[in-house]
Subunit: 191 residues, 2 copies
Amino acid sequence: MAEELIRHLQKHIAADAEDARQIVPFFRTVPLQKKEALLAEGQLCRYHYFVAKGCLRMYFVNGKGMEQTIHFAIENWWITDYPAFQHRAAASFHIQAIEPSEVLAIDYASQEDLFREFPQMERYFRLIFQRAYSAAQLRIRYLYDFSREEFYDHFSTHFPEFIQRVPQYLLASYLNMTPEYLSEIRSKKRS
Amino acid sequence: MAEELIRHLQKHIAADAEDARQIVPFFRTVPLQKKEALLAEGQLCRYHYFVAKGCLRMYFVNGKGMEQTIHFAIENWWITDYPAFQHRAAASFHIQAIEPSEVLAIDYASQEDLFREFPQMERYFRLIFQRAYSAAQLRIRYLYDFSREEFYDHFSTHFPEFIQRVPQYLLASYLNMTPEYLSEIRSKKRS
DNA sequence: CGCGACGTTGATTTGCCTCAACGATTGTGG
DNA sequence: CCACAATCGTTGAGGCAAATCAACGTCGCG
């Protein structure tokens, strides 16, 4: 499953087969079943994860005990609770597999070692974070701008494959609305 | 005003006086009056900005013609329309000074040159973006979780100095509510 | 088959917006 | 330095998007 990561690295930085051979051992492969948890709120967040295969979600539990999904991550995405990972602190999010998945995990110290031995990796992650922050900026704009219905329209035109891939109550939670209201919106569209 | 940047660099990476002397010329100093625009929607977004002094805001104009503030940036923050900057495309946000300010600007090509000549700068920006993304992740959580009133409470306990520094209608716009409603919330607190 | 998870529908409620009117404060030109 | 305008903050009435609550149909799976 490391090939997926290698291919992704090579899309962003110069890394030959020899580099690849040396970089891979920094990571640990973690297979996941459907619904299996990768990280739970309150746990020490030790790892940064690369999704090699499958689909995960990140969520938190709000004051009323509802699970609020704030991210989906599929192949080639990096994911973790960054605030917690950076400070090697307790996570305030959960991460869970939606499908049978496989992720590559690297802990904080190994990541620092990796930067020391392969300075191109600083560039790689600079690019990854830059793009992630960039996407977050857009995302925040949408959260300010869109009604729930516009949010659904936007999501279903930009990520139609997702509508198939995740159950509707998770989609509702990601779109920050109740399953009931999503159901209402969808029935309106059909007619 | 470059000293502010140097000091910030040295907090994150090893950079001696000689490095500093060479890094500074990559930037252009831009003084700004209160309410002066630094970037407007539709303009090509060429620069990445470091706030050396003052306070800026980033906003967009929504479908109803209202200005929606999505960020404030004060001393030591980097700001730009990242989606546009990365693709050297037209901005979809405005950036404007709230107070008399001073920013350091670097264009895309110079930033790439800077990375080539000073590889530590990749690390510096990796750290900056990582922290920014981290903050965005928390921000998104709050946007999902908080009512308008909770948002106000959270903001006023975490950034009390800001409540003084920015006019109330901008604060309302940042908190994603109408000035009328913010006024109502505040009067409720007083009594 | 039967149970629990998921999706749907409808009635009611509420958080927040819209619109309008009116003080208070700020700024500006004469 | 005052007069007047513009900008900003407040208050209240009415309305709407979306939540809550409850009940019921359906499907996948042990």
